[in-house]
């Protein structure tokens, strides 16, 4: 958290630069392909959930004889209910797919918003230094010192009453919007710090000094010289950040601070079904857990791969 950047001289010595690293392991490429395919399939399901023929019975409570029949299965997966069903007989697969829709939208919207805001603030702090930096540092520290749950209460609480929020083009559930705001606020500070540190070192580079010497405006230097060099790092952080946000959303949903029924997210589903764990309701916990874990893992793998591709050192997020 220190703002003093001490350069520890670590000139790689001749020998280690000669002995190049062993080429990246093959299994990682395999992992990347697997991760991307998984994300593509999940996104496909989420986007077309409403029209896909096999994603049905969403939020449908079976009645009478069927309910009893389902209860006797104890929620086991079957050809009809792929992921089994919960104690109320709802289809875990259909619910999981709709949950993916919500979770991915929330995560994506938050990380994009956070990258834009955090990136901009970080660039300003790193480039102009001085008072910009000092004021923004305090703001970042404030954001970091805020307990997430209090932030969630304040923001989601404001939009608690439900109903729709009309933002011109966008129209969405108020609570949905609230969760996005919470997650964005949570991730601005860490992202901004990364961008700030990168900008700080980039703005000392020769080509930036040269551009300044040629009389380029600050704005032009930021957009044309610094931003393009920040993009690889931001691109990589976008994926790892998304993974972190999915975990955070899971936690909030688990505590009941995310979107509410009829739109469960995975965290919500896990919390909902965990009391049935001992009563044979394990499948209803198992599948959302697996999906959440795999999704987070997949985004982490992609982020790691991008970071290696651009040779970015592991960032502290």
């Amino acid at each position: 958290m220190s703002d003093t950047v001490i350069e520890i001289p670590s000139r790689p010595n001749i020998i280690t630069s000669l002995v190049r690293r062993i080429p990246p392991l093959r299994k990682w490429k395999f992992g990347l392909v697997l991760s991307v395919s998984y994300i593509v399939v999940l996104t496909f399901l989420a986007v077309f959930a409403n029209v896909l023929p096999f994603v049905r019975r969403y939020n449908v409570l079976p009645k009478g004889a069927e309910a009893r029949r389902l209860a006797s299965y104890r929620g086991k997966p079957s050809s009809e209910y792929w992921f089994g069903n919960d104690k109320l007989g709802r289809d875990t697969f259909a619910r999981s797919v709709y949950a993916a829709q919500k979770t991915l939208t929330i995560g994506l919207a938050s990380i994009v918003a956070a990258l834009v805001i955090g990136g901009l603030l970080g660039m300003l702090a790193g480039y102009y230094r001085g008072w910009y930096d000092r004021v923004l540092s305090v703001i970042f520290d404030v954001l970091l010192a805020f307990p997430a749950i209090v932030l969630a209460l304040i923001v989601v609480g404001r939009f608690f009453q439900g109903g729709r929020l009309n933002l011109g083009v966008f129209e969405m559930d108020k609570r949905f919007f609230g969760v996005i705001v919470v997650l964005t606020l949570l991730s601005i500070a860490p992202l901004a710090r990364i961008v700030r540190a990168q900008t700080l070192s980039l703005s000392q580079r020769e080509y930036v000094l040269a551009a300044r010497g040629l009389g380029a405006s600050s704005w032009r230097i930021l957009v044309r010289e610094i931003l393009p060099n920040l993009l690889p790092a931001m691109f990589s952080v976008a994926f790892t950040g998304l993974a972190v946000l999915l975990v955070a959303e899971g936690g909030l949903a688990f505590l009941g601070f995310s979107v509410q029924l009829p739109f469960p997210t995975w965290g919500f589903m896990i919390n909902e079904a965990r009391s049935d764990l001992t009563k044979g309701g394990g499948w209803a916990v198992f599948f959302p857990c697996v999906l959440l874990f795999l999704t987070v893992l997949a985004f982490n793998v992609i982020g790691d791969r991008v970071a290696r591709r651009f040779d970015i050192r592991e960032a502290t997020l």
Binding site: T16, L18, R20
Partner: protein, 355 residues
């Protein structure tokens, strides 16, 4: 100090037999050191001279065994006092390092641990190798700092490297290297990172210490001027092989290898008129992954002919203290005819300088 009592004072200390050090990299095998043989007597100093990338640092480090295990292939023998160092293994080498042989590195800023007091860094090998207690080690460290001529040594013990000047840091590093009284001292470009004014002092210090302690010294440098007044012998290294080896006076007076000749021509000399142009060596050092067949200097050598490009000349002794690896050494008929050609076309002046 605690030098072994029965240390012989004369005879061969170090003998290399066809030492080869290769690195396997993603691009291929780098032949950094490719068949080097020489001997070094006790108490003598040897300068290894070469351009950057000629393998001189790797040579020094492979003699000492300081290369990373991974990706390094080492062949040939290094006989130290008659013992093959390759047979010692890493554990055995560790007893040698610091005690029998030690090394001074190029950049004292990065080679001293920035987070450790100077005194601690000097006393560390004393305590590890010689089992000294804290008080003793500190006293010895103080004595060492006095030996290497650091002002206010008492105060320096408790300072960190960043608090010392460049010259003092290098002196401190020498003190560390000398701590356990080594028999063989490597100095890898010890003056490159220093101010010109300090360079001579550091080199003199190393030589004084060599005489006082009867050490052998291997001085690695790219600068012929550095070795000129400070070593008994000089080995000129080119692209992983030795081009020429001779006693210092012999080499400067009677150079045989065209590469040595070219190196000497690239140094300004006082006996030439001022504003004499220096002759740069054309071309670039060869790629060590696919070195040229035949003599490695052939592509850049003005006297090269087909034989040079096809057959590798061996390092052969011309006299007791002079050996070189060249088909057409300085003074040979081909050298003479080419030389005349260069003078007549006005590239060289008759005195050997550039017209």
């Amino acid at each position: 100090m605690t030098a072994p009592i029965n240390r012989p004072q004369e005879g061969t200390l170090l003998e290399l037999r066809n030492l080869r050090t290769h690195f396997s990299t993603a691009r291929g095998v780098v032949r950094a050191v490719d068949g080097v043989s020489f001997t070094l007597d006790r108490g003598k100093s040897l300068g290894i001279v070469g351009e950057s990338g000629s393998g001189k640092t790797i040579l020094a480090r492979s003699i000492m065994g300081l290369l990373p295990k991974r990706g390094t292939i080492r062949h040939g023998e290094v006989l130290y006092a008659g013992q093959d160092l390759a047979s010692l293994g890493l554990k055995g080498m560790r007893k040698f390092w610091g005690q029998e042989m030690s090394m001074i590195f190029q950049d004292p800023m990065t080679s001293l641990n920035p987070l450790m007091r100077i005194g601690h860094q000097i006393s560390e090998p004393l305590r590890v190798h010689l089992d000294m207690d804290k008080v003793n080690a500190r006293a010895t460290a103080l004595k060492l700092l006095q030996d290497v001529g650091i002002p206010e040594p008492e105060k320096r013990l408790d300072q960190y490297p960043h608090e010392l000047s460049g010259g003092m840091r290098q002196r401190a590093m020498i003190a560390i290297a000398l701590a356990c009284g080594p028999t063989l001292l490597f100095a890898d470009e010890p003056t490159t990172a220093l101010d010109v004014t300090v360079q001579a002092q550091i080199l003199d210090l190393i030589q004084d210490q060599r005489r006082d302690r009867n050490m052998s010294v291997i001085l690695v440098t790219h600068d012929l001027g550095v070795v000129a007044g400070h070593t008994d012998e000089i080995a000129v290294m080119y692209a992983g092989t030795l081009a020429e080896k001779a006693s210092t006076t012999e080499l400067f007076a009677n150079r045989k290898h065209p590469y040595t000749e070219a190196l000497l021509r690239s140094i300004p000399r006082l006996d030439q008129p001022s504003h004499t142009r220096l002759l740069a060596i054309g071309g670039r050092p060869p790629d060590l992954i696919t070195p040229p067949t035949g003599c490695r200097f052939a592509p850049r050598c003005p006297y090269a002919e087909d034989k040079c490009r096809a057959e590798i000349p061996e390092l052969e002794a011309a006299s007791a203290d002079h050996s070189f690896a060249c088909w057409h050494p300085v003074g040979s008929p081909r050298w003479q005819s080419k030389q005349d050609e260069l003078v007549s076309t006005g590239v060289l002046s008759a005195s050997g300088g550039i017209a």
